[in-house]
């Protein structure tokens, strides 16, 4: 066993090393995957009507005639300079594609994460605080349905009912920048319309967000809710809660000042994981609602064997996932004074 001081000093170093290992593994795996793609990338890039010489030329241009190890080295080198290659479909640098698709996805993910985190935590607290009564039936139902319901089914159902039948919300697409003439500042409809100060435009942005966000919330809030409830109930069984009760402290204060902070720890971890996973869940939602984000971009890349794009999206989501987890790890000490001192 290393002495504690040394371990404390090494902790950020090993944490960073781990992140690098994960990212490097992701890079290598995606590289390997891209070289076992059944379709010939050179053929795809050259176009269907290209002759064999043209394909060979494209192959040489793309470096695909080199040994695998050389290709790998070149790929790593390109990555370090921020060059993710060119997309076969859009014929643009993948990085540009990603950057233009990112805001739409971020908007969707951030808005819905905020809603399901708050909703899940509040519902979980209410459940633990009032453990009996008719509302628990509803919460229990929500908990089971929320984890089992497929994203694509919720999305389609909402689309059919609220966009198709009731026509309350648009069927597909995000905020229409071109049609309304709102300048793209961040690329997120909600933010950019808010910047114009025009409330009807903000309302329009909210209307486009409503269905995809609801889909994400419905399929994600149950986990936070269930975990919040069980974690808080576990804390409320601890002896220190009994001590506070013996001191005559009001139940509400016990829950909010004493137990809640300790109970939040696993919930924060789970919310972090969910945020990291949400890029996966968002692919299906963006496909259903034709939301022009990373998910839709990835979907088109999958369909076209656009391997540079597939690699880039996979890498991006891995990096995001690892960083979010590291960030969550950094939040813990704020919740627990024992860890704060150990830092």
């Amino acid at each position: 066993m290393r002495p504690p001081v040394a371990r404390r000093l090494l902790k950020p170093v090993t944490g960073l090393a781990w992140i690098l290992v994960v990212v490097w593994s992701a890079v290598s795996v995606t590289f390997l995957l891209s070289r076992i793609v059944p379709a010939d990338p050179a053929r795809l890039a050259a176009g269907l009507d290209a002759g064999p010489e043209q394909v060979a030329q494209v192959r040489a241009e793309m470096g695909l005639d080199q040994p695998l190890i050389v290709q790998y080295g070149r790929y790593l080198g390109d990555l370090l300079t921020g060059d993710l290659g060119r997309s076969v479909q859009t014929r643009q640098p993948v990085l540009d594609d990603l950057l233009s698709a990112l805001p739409a996805s971020l908007e969707l993910i951030l808005v819905s994460s905020l809603i399901y985190a708050v909703l899940g935590v509040l519902a979980g607290i209410a459940w633990a605080y009032w453990p009996r009564g008719p509302h628990t039936l509803l919460l229990r139902l929500g908990a089971v349905v929320g984890v089992a319901v497929p994203v694509f089914w919720v999305g389609l159902l909402l689309q059919i009912v609220f966009a198709g039948r009731l026509r309350w919300f648009p069927v597909a697409g995000n905020f229409d920048f071109e049609g309304t003439g709102v300048p793209r500042v961040t690329g997120m409809g909600l933010v950019d319309t808010a910047l114009t100060g025009d409330l009807t435009l903000v309302g329009e942005a909210l209307r486009t967000l409503a269905l995809p966000v609801t889909t994400l919330v419905v399929t994600h809030f149950a986990v936070a809710m269930t975990l919040m409830r069980s974690s808080l109930e576990e804390q409320l069984r601890r002896p220190y809660v009994r001590t506070a009760r013996a001191r005559g402290v009001k139940e509400r204060r016990i829950v909010f000042a004493d137990a809640l902070r300790n109970a939040l720890n696993p919930v924060v971890t789970m919310l972090g994981l969910q945020l990291g996973w949400s890029l996966g869940g968002v692919v299906i939602i963006e496909v259903i609602f034709s939301w022009p984000g990373l998910g839709l971009y990835a979907y088109h890349a999958f369909s076209a064997f656009d391997y540079n794009a597939i690699m880039a999206v996979t890498l991006l989501s891995t990096v995001a996932f690892v960083l979010i987890n590291a960030l969550v790890g950094a939040i813990y000490p704020l919740l627990d004074p024992r860890l704060k001192e150990a830092r």
Binding site: W18, V21, V22, S25, A26, V29, T30, L33, S34, I36, V37, P38, V144, V145, V147, A148, V149, P150, V151, F152, W153, L156, L157, Q159, I160, A163, G164, V171, G276, W277, L279, G280, G281, V283, I284, V287, I288, A298, Y299, A301, F302, S303, F305, Y307, I310, M311, V313, T314, S317, T318, A320, F321, V322, N325
Partner: protein
Amino acid sequence: MTTTEPTSGAVGGWRRPTPTELWAGATVLVIAVLLIAPGWIAPLDPYRLDVSQRFRPPGAGHLFGTDDAGRDIFSRVVYGARNSIGAALIVVTVAAVFGVVYGAAAAWSGGILDRILMRVVDLFLAFPYLVFAMAVAASLGRGLTAALVALTVLWWPSYARMVRGQVISLLRDRHVRAARTLGASGPQILRWHVVPHTYDAVLVRYTLDLGQALVALTGLSFLGLGAQPPTPEWGLMIADAKQYALTAWWAAVLPGAVVFLTALNFMSLGDRMRRAGGTR
């Protein structure tokens, strides 16, 4: 199994099955029939095209209506169970078996080997699994097999981690020490005295995961990364129906409801087993 509740007046080894056991039994039975003999249930050929019967809403002739090619959706759902539930079963079974062996081996070997083996597990768990499954499935060439491989590769580490933790605590247990004293060999102890004690928790996880895997698999085929047309597969059926969902809602909604209810059944059953067994 975990669902065993206090046995009162058990005579000759037989006792009344608990509600949970009845539920599990019924689930197994229904799935067995769907997988082995879908023809007993499905009224029509799932592949038969009939343009005159296009877009029939649910009713007497077609329980779930028909799709854009006039195929009977109910029959396609019944035959689709083979591809959807069957695939989920394969994914979770392979993942569980591999994960249990891997986790037990890591726990048993201990020391540096254990740390290396678990670092590999950590690495797998550090990937956002859905995106990776999509990338793997897309690269292997779209098809049900590709989706199966992609999900299995990403599914086993959670079993490995769970089983390793349990085995480590079991190895410290008295009955293991007793067996060791009696001269049992390492693999014997693992096989007969340790690993069987993890089955309760594995079975709970297995049942819950069947629901998860079903949703994940149908999700992949919804994105075109699983089964390919004209195979009857639930996710694929919904993806096809997506284009005309606003006019013929049933073609997307009813197969989706079947996915949902099947997953719900697995997950509530697993939840119930967990509570009956008291494992976390």
